[in-house]
């Protein structure tokens, strides 16, 4: 059956080439006819350094409408090129990146053209993007650690939530944020272990267990918050947070420094985990074995890989990673736990993982896209763009749908994903 699934692929009814070309041209038309036509007269100002930053970079000024027209023209050009020529793989990827960039530039030019409130704070936007995507990246990494070994992890949301709760409680009781980080991670790992036990030992449907763990995590944290954390907030919810740590030399580089090298420890942990998991999965013996277990457990078993042990280990590792993401939500960000603080990040992380085709770097790119959209919405409402904030909030999700449908298309999960392994 596995072989069948591999060979009989769904014939996609519209050629991907024309779909991508159409999407490019469509976005280009939006750039011209929406952002260009409706832009106010005047310049769009992109501030490239935070107010009072030492190496001050002068802001960029561009005429708003003209910028949008140019961006639209580039997109349409690339769309036509994509339709007539069969680009190499890197060319396709580059064209997608350029078209998305054009779309953003046009959008931002429209938003800031002739704006009296102020200029667009590019550094703030990028900084917010990076920090907003930390829990998404960690959640997506947790998901793919499990799924690469063949266990679907929908419990990311629950792992983030329990991680956040435990981190806040432990950090408050012990007074040490590091203990909070550790506690949050372990709590996520515990949920991962539960998922693993039910999915691997008791052969329960992995999607059911994941969904249910989310329900239980939400119920339990709400309950404990009502009963313990709320009434005794001075003991259990004091709101400790990590301070920021600027990396000596790198942190002083203009634009890049404040965005990537001037944050709290969670960002650096995230860098490390992305690197370790990407290299680990695709360039080490461990990764090869994990992927073998996720693609063809019987074959892996035949050559002596311990399938169930690999799965246990990966799901629990994933839980630990998601727990760190949860800890970020409290001790790394706002400090205090509030009910349902993860508010769907786990599901967005899941989408990011699928969007990123079950690879760490792909997931990071998808998570950054979401993070960027969240932060963009904040920046645009600061600029008092005359559009309802709900429409702005909707935009990232519509953009994802367009991207998934128009540019990414069919993705292929690990072949044994979600299927319990029973030794014959």
């Amino acid at each position: 059956m596995t072989a069948l699934v591999g060979t009989v692929r769904a014939p996609v009814t519209i050629s991907r080439r024309y779909l991508a070309a159409g999407t490019f041209i469509g976005l280009g038309l939006i750039n011209i006819f929406v952002f260009g036509f409706f832009a106010h007269r005047g310049d769009a100002v992109f501030a490239l350094s935070l107010p009072g930053a030492t190496p001050h970079v002068p802001p960029i000024r561009t005429p708003g409408a003209v910028t949008a027209y140019v961006a639209g023209a580039i997109s349409i050009g690339l769309g036509v090129l994509r339709a007539v020529a069969d680009l190499p793989r890197w060319g396709k990827r580059l064209s997608i990146a350029v078209v998305l960039l054009c779309f953003l530039v046009a959008l931002l030019s429209w938003a800031d053209a002739g704006n009296s409130v102020g200029s667009l704070e590019v550094v703030d936007l990028l900084q917010g993007t990076v920090t907003a995507s930390i829990p998404l990246v960690l959640g997506a990494l947790a998901g793919l650690l499990g799924e690469r070994a063949g266990v679907i992890n929908i419990a990311i949301e629950g792992q983030l939530l329990t991680g956040a709760f435990t981190a806040a409680a432990v950090a408050s009781v012990t007074g040490g944020v590091w203990y909070g980080l550790l506690g949050g991670s372990l709590a996520g790992g515990l949920l991962g272990a539960l998922l693993a036990i039910f999915a691997i030992m008791f052969l329960a449907d992995q999607i059911i267990v994941g969904v249910v763990l989310n329900v239980i995590a939400l119920g339990l944290t709400d309950y404990l918050n009502n009963r313990v954390m709320g009434p005794y907030a001075s003991t259990f919810n004091t709101g400790n947070t990590f301070g920021t740590f600027k990396i000596p030399v790198l942190g002083n580089i203009p634009i890049i420094g404040p965005v990537f090298f001037d944050s709290n420890v969670f960002l650096y942990i995230t860098y490390a985990l992305i690197l370790v998991i990407q290299i680990g999965l695709f360039s080490t013996r461990w990764g090869l074995r994990v992927r073998a277990v996720g693609e063809h457990p019987t074959a892996a078993d035949t050559v002596g890989i311990r399938v169930l042990w690999t799965r246990y280990r990966n799901v629990i590792l994933g839980g630990l990673v998601a727990g760190i993401g949860g800890a970020y939500l409290t001790v790394g960000n706002v400090g205090f736990f509030t009910p349902d603080i993860s508010s769907g990040f786990g599901y967005i992380a899941l989408a990011a993982m699928i969007f990123g085709r079950w690879t760490p770097l792909g997931s990071v790119a998808a998570a950054l896209l979401f993070g960027f959209s969240f932060q963009l919405q904040t920046e645009l409402s600061v600029l008092r763009v005359p559009v309802s904030s709900f429409i702005l909030l909707m935009a990232p999700y519509v953009a994802t749908i367009i991207a998934v449908a128009g540019l990414v298309g069919r993705v292929r999960p690990p072949a044994a994903d979600g299927k319990p392994y029973v030794k014959a």
Binding site: V12, I208, G219, N226
Partner: protein, 440 residues
């Protein structure tokens, strides 16, 4: 809707150990001799028949819930502090706390003995059935969202988007409810059809995009949920769109009285036409899945898309139609709420119906009858949980945990067998469902 005689397509791995299966696998019945009913029952109990597993799962979940109830009761905790010299006090305090909470839960969901004696002394007889009507009322939207998720499961897809489809239905039903003037009965019918169509459109978008571009339905449904949450808030906060006149909050106008679904006796919440619509939808879904050609195609695609394609089934068409109907069912769920309650649509009316639909579908093993029973169980827990919270101060969150635990244990029959030392039955045992990983 005889679930047990449903013929699964050949490749279907979801083998539910229903009574006939357990009978054929029985060691006591070789040579075609039919075992006696009594021995069948005993055998079902000792081997962990799926109904027995479910009952035991509910029992274990209630036990764990009891721990939470005790842990949240300061009286009991204080009694346990002095356990060493007054153990009886601690134990009786524990028992009292749990018993009070669970009897309140039972009285709120099934029936309360007090109402019976009241009826003998000139009280209302209808009051006896009030808790049951609350249960049915709570179960109504869950049956429909549960069917929505279950239908997609049977076609091999995961519908996380019942919430978004719910909003689609709610928007159309509400708009038809206040903006159009129609005679009684007709207005309600138009609105409920509108609710179906509103949800079906959102579901159709998912199916169409999946079929045409290969995009993954999990991403599409999650994203559409967020789009719909924000669309709802946007429409309800815009003066010239759907906001009630003179309001500053995100709230829609009241729908016309003609558009309300009538209630069978008494004011809401009472068993209304909504509940009957939900039951009819369950029957229709059962017929569709087990008796119609389209339903056979759904199940074939759900069992193996590639095999279905080789057999000449148009897989893309199945994806589109399954999501279209599933969306419609979620929309109907919204219709029963919008037209069944006196409160107008607000920015958070969608509540947790969509996500509860997933748990209900999983507990009901994606079978329509199972979904109805699961929704009734959850409805009873919801109805009773509210009463329990009011009467004993035990937070409603305990009920949410119990609901989750029930599904968790039902999904893991080996664990329940281990806990209660049940023998392993013949065959694979009740395999819980449905989902075939992501590949759809």
């Amino acid at each position: 809707m005889s679930e047990q005689h449903e013929t699964e397509p050949a490749a279907a791995p979801a083998a539910t150990a229903t009574a006939p299966d357990a009978g054929t696998a029985a060691p006591g019945g070789p040579g075609g001799r039919r075992p006696l009913t009594g021995s069948l029952i005993i055998q079902a109990v000792t081997e962990g028949h799926s109904a027995v597993i479910t009952i035991l799962a509910v029992f274990v979940a209630l036990m764990i819930g009891a721990v939470l109830i005790v842990a949240s009761d300061p009286v009991v905790l204080r009694a346990w502090d002095s356990f060493s010299y007054a153990p009886a006090t601690a134990l009786s305090a524990t028992w009292n706390s749990v018993a009070a909470a669970y009897s309140a839960l039972f009285e709120g969901a099934i029936f309360s003995p007090a109402t019976v004696s009241a009826a003998f002394h000139g009280g209302s007889i209808a009051a006896i059935f009030y808790p049951l009507s609350l249960t049915a009322f709570e179960a109504t939207p869950l049956i429909l969202t549960g069917l929505s998720v279950a239908l997609c499961f049977r076609a091999g897809m995961f519908n996380i988007g019942a919430a978004g489809q719910w909003i689609g239905g709610a928007l159309v039903a509400t708009w038809l409810g206040y903006a159009v003037n129609l005679p009684i009965v007709l207005h309600a019918i138009v609105c409920i059809i509108g609710a179906f169509i509103g949800g079906a459109v959102i579901g159709w978008i998912v199916g169409e995009l999946k079929a045409r571009t290969g995009a993954h339905e999990v991403i599409l449904t999650i994203m559409l949920n967020y789009v719909m949450y924000n669309l709802l808030s946007f429409l309800l906060t815009s003066h010239n769109l759907m906001q009630a006149p003179g309001q500053t909050n995100a709230i829609a106008p009241n729908i016309a009285g003609n558009a309300m679904l009538p209630h069978v006796g008494g004011p809401p919440p009472q068993v209304g036409v909504g509940f009957l619509i939900a039951l009819a939808a369950a029957a229709a879904t059962a017929w569709l899945l087990s008796r119609s050609t389209l339903g056979f195609e759904f199940r074939a695609v759900g069992a193996s898309p590639s095999a279905a394609r080789s057999a000449g089934i148009n897989v893309e068409r199945v994806w589109v139609l399954a999501f279209l109907i599933a969306g419609g069912l979620a929309g109907l769920s919204a219709g029963t709420i919008v037209q069944g309650q006196t409160a107008p649509l607000t920015f958070n009316s969608y509540g947790t119906y969509g996500f509860d639909g997933i748990t209900v579908a999983l507990l009901g093993r994606a079978r329509p009858l199972g979904v109805v029973l699961a929704a009734l169980l959850f409805g009873a827990l919801n109805a009773g949980g509210t009463v329990m919270e009011a009467a004993t101060g035990v937070p409603f969150d305990v009920v949410d945990v119990i609901k989750g635990l029930i599904v968790l244990f039902v999904a893991a029959p080996p664990l329940i067998r281990l806990l209660f030392r049940l023998r392993r039955g013949g065959g694979a045992g009740p395999q819980a469902v449905t989902s075939q990983g992501w590949s759809g």
